[in-house]
Symmetry: C2
Subunit: 214 residues, 2 copies
């Protein structure tokens, strides 16, 4: 999906143990980033993957490259979820709801920081994925709004930030059971998004740019 990782540049088709380890590392990195944030020691990731640290460095030149791969992968999955929700659900609000809960399952909240710290904003693949995601989520929201089920005073940024925040590991609890709360709280939030609005919101609708550019 994402970047040109070290191993992918190779001419030869790589040994099976090499590719297996590579995937283990990516999976371990994903978990570790979710639990401990983007600065988690690379040695810890290697250990978690059950490989030596040298193996990690053999596959990924540095932390940046590893983050890039993990983040690209997650972004792509998220976009796919949005697209399938849009395509498969008949009810507009239900489509939105489905996307939100799938996004939670992808742990975007925890992985979101990676999108900033490890992302080359100029990478065309990333730009593409990002624009695609914005486009499809906007469509999800527009549909819900037009069907009269979504209150009109919220923007895509409101939704994305709320998803991000509500799906992050709960501070201090070693991330043990966010899953227990996550979906409940997103559901409550979604109930607050329904039309007719039950209160007046302060501020203005949050757009994508509001939090992209720091």
């Amino acid at each position: 999906m994402g970047g040109m990782a070290t191993a992918e540049r190779r001419a030869q088709p790589a040994r099976v143990d090499a590719t297996r380890n590579r995937e283990r590392i990516i999976a371990a990195a994903r978990e570790a980033f979710v639990e401990h944030g983007p600065t988690v020691p690379l040695d810890a990731i290697a250990h978690r993957a059950g490989v030596g640290n040298a193996t990690l460095y053999r596959h990924f030149a540095d932390r940046h490259e590893l983050i890039h791969v993990v983040a690209s992968y997650s972004l792509a999955r998220l976009t796919e979820q949005a697209e399938s929700a849009l395509a498969e659900e008949t009810d507009a609000f239900e489509a939105l709801r489905r996307f939100v809960h799938r996004a939670a399952d992808e742990r975007v909240g925890a992985l979101c920081s990676l999108l900033y710290e490890g992302f080359d904003k100029n990478d065309p693949h990333v730009m593409d994925a990002r624009i695609r995601l914005e486009k499809v989520v906007t469509e999800l929201m527009d549909n819900a709004r037009e069907s009269g089920q979504l209150r009109p005073d919220v923007g895509i940024g409101d939704l994305m930030v709320a998803i991000t925040q509500l799906t992050r590991p709960v501070a201090g609890t070693a991330c043990a059971h966010v899953e227990r709360f996550m979906h409940r709280h997103l559901q409550l939030f979604l109930d607050g998004l329904r039309a007719p609005a039950r209160s007046e919101l302060c501020g203005t609708a949050v757009t994508f740019e509001d939090f992209e550019i720091k």
Copy 2:
């Protein structure tokens, strides 16, 4: 409020510059913890407070003690906010709403992690403050529920976790403008909390213990 900080143990009444610096350090620590989390270098806090690092160590034996003081202070303030909301607001849901937004202003989300990392759970002062907070917030919610304005399927933990999560610094954005979103999203969440419930929630109501004990 909270702990027996080093300076407070002193017999003598301390010089004015000493107490001034002490407060500067606490304020700087609060800000720094909010922005960079509980592991922010102590030297950075000292610098931010405009004092030498030795001065910080003179007032607080270690990071743990500093965190304890800051967290105790915040917890006390939060409880006060809840109590005044309960006492002064006539409408039950409005009281709850007021508490939520005041809690956001106190930046509990960002400071919450301190409650875990730096807290001596056996400290009687802390226990007291905690129980007091739980008691008054429970009362706020009970009142709102009894008045028929709060959906019955949510617990105090649902509220506290959501406040915590929604008021944390947004990942990757250097914490610049959480304030812009925070109140909007809490408001949306509160709208979702109103009775009648607009959907069925998964799981069960979250209690205080669910996230206290890891």
